[in-house]
């Protein structure tokens, strides 16, 4: 739809006094019907898909485009989106497939498993440092944020030294109160900074992702230097933000369920399933995945016209009672593997196994190191980040 100033409601972000649950309106709308109109940031309307099954359908449909430059694409910001080089999340096939397949080797299960011992070391180093700090400690600043950042930098083969730059920029990019121009500069800032490492790998290839891309893709002419830097920037940004958020919110969630936390800490075999449940329950991407239809498509009984935008709120899919029994209950023993926290379809998160292993290592290690870990402030005083593409905490004071 391209009519301006629609009167349909917008996608809600505010969570009130239930900071771990999606905004209440999403459940009401889901009960009312599988799809409805909403207003997007630029004042136009788009379709909001409300249920798990229909969301899977949309995300698995090749007629749905991720190209933000297509008219009707429902951007989370009011301004025209700017495309940054190498951002494969915004590409469609066939180019998308070509670019994605340059990365699948790096992130495949086997290669992430090979990295596990290093991830354990990096986790322990941060816990060692935390142990020496005066309490209370900001867990978000000293553990949840640096760990994923160290890990993704290691995978790419770049130094951690400039992580402050990455962290500031990564938070800006997702901040919906910032304009597209500001977010774009932050994005390109990281990519421009990373170009030097691409050049360095060309002179001196090592055993890391950037070297792999330089040797096997840049030298063959498949990818340009700038594209590789852009892809690396995307991985750095997403690698920072989402796992950091998951660590902090998972700590809060587990502390609120002491019996389940006890099992989590004492029964290692429940950990992988518990991580899936945390991914389902918390579903941190809370602005919805975005697509635009490239043909007329029937969804949930309505015809979505070519050129109309769709919003797919995966955090709401993961609370759909038709997909999960008693979905608002946190239960580490449930079967939650079919959650959509990593999306669905050909854009499903490429680094999902890395994220899983990070959480499988980080959370048990944290609670083993600090068996008395607790929040150093009441939950009501924790500040939650609602205005960002990735829902998170601003800080998380803990003590032990």
């Amino acid at each position: 739809m391209t009519d301006t100033h629609s009167t349909a409601p917008s996608l809600p972000f505010h969570r009130g006094d239930a900071p771990l649950d999606p905004p209440a309106a999403l459940a009401e709308w889901r009960a009312e019907g599988p799809i409805r109109r909403v207003t997007v940031a630029n004042g136009n309307t788009a379709w909001l898909v409300t249920r798990y099954d229909e969301m899977r359908e949309v995300l698995g449909d090749p007629r749905m485009s991720s190209d933000v430059t297509k008219p009707g694409f429902p951007s989370p910001r009011a301004e025209e989106p700017k495309v940054s080089l190498g951002n494969f999340t915004q590409m469609d096939p066939p180019r998308y497939g070509v670019v994605r397949r340059t990365l699948t080797r790096t992130f495949m299960v086997k290669n992430i498993e090979r990295l596990r011992p290093r991830m354990v070391e990096m986790t322990n180093d941060l816990l060692d440092a935390m142990e020496k700090m005066p309490r209370p400690v900001d867990l978000h600043a000293h553990f949840a944020r640096p760990l994923p950042s160290h890990i993704i930098c290691e995978v790419l083969g770049i130094p951690h030294a400039d992580r402050a730059l990455f962290q500031a920029n990564a938070a800006t990019i997702g901040d919906m109160s910032k304009t597209e121009g500001v977010a774009f500069s932050a994005r390109t800032g990281i990519a421009e900074y990373l170009v030097q490492f691409v050049e360095e790998k060309d002179r001196n290839p090592g055993d890391d992702m950037l070297s792999d891309l330089v040797v096997n893709r840049m030298r063959t002419g498949e990818l340009s230097k700038e594209e590789i830097a852009g892809m690396a920037a995307l991985l750095v940004i997403n690698g920072h933000e989402s796992s950091a958020s998951m660590i902090g919110l998972s700590v809060i969630t587990l502390l609120r369920h002491p019996e389940q936390l006890h099992r989590f800490v004492t029964e290692p075999e429940v950990v992988p399933g518990a991580i899936e449940e945390l991914l389902r329950y918390l579903s941190i991407v809370h602005v919805g995945l975005r697509r635009v239809a490239t043909a007329d498509v029937e969804i949930g009984g309505v015809t979505v016209r070519k050129g109309e935008g769709l919003i797919i709120p995966i955090h709401s899919a993961n609370r759909d009672p038709d997909a999960f029994d008693a979905p608002d209950q946190f239960d580490i023993t449930r079967e939650s593997r079919h959650h959509m926290a990593f999306g669905h379809g050909l854009h499903q998160c490429i680094a999902q196994y890395m994220a899983r292993v990070e959480l499988q290592i980080a959370l048990p290690a944290l609670f083993h190191r600090f068996p008395d870990l607790r929040l150093a402030a009441p939950l009501e005083e924790i500040s939650f980040r609602e205005d960002n593409v990735v829902y998170s905490v601003h800080g998380l004071p803990v003590t032990w």
Partner: protein, 66 residues
Amino acid sequence: MKIEIDEEKCCGAGQCVMAAPEVFDQREEDGLVLVLDAAPPQSQYEAVRQAAKLCPTAVIRVAEDD
């Protein structure tokens, strides 16, 4: 049970390997799906069905015995 795959559509997310590691692997050279056992034993049926369901791009087709 017989497993068929449509490799063209594989996006290398590894869901199949996580669900049924004895039946699926990823190729060392490109991380795309590799079927280790196209006619798996009965003990693997549940895991294979789960893999087919979780695969984000519907790569895995399972023909059940009748």
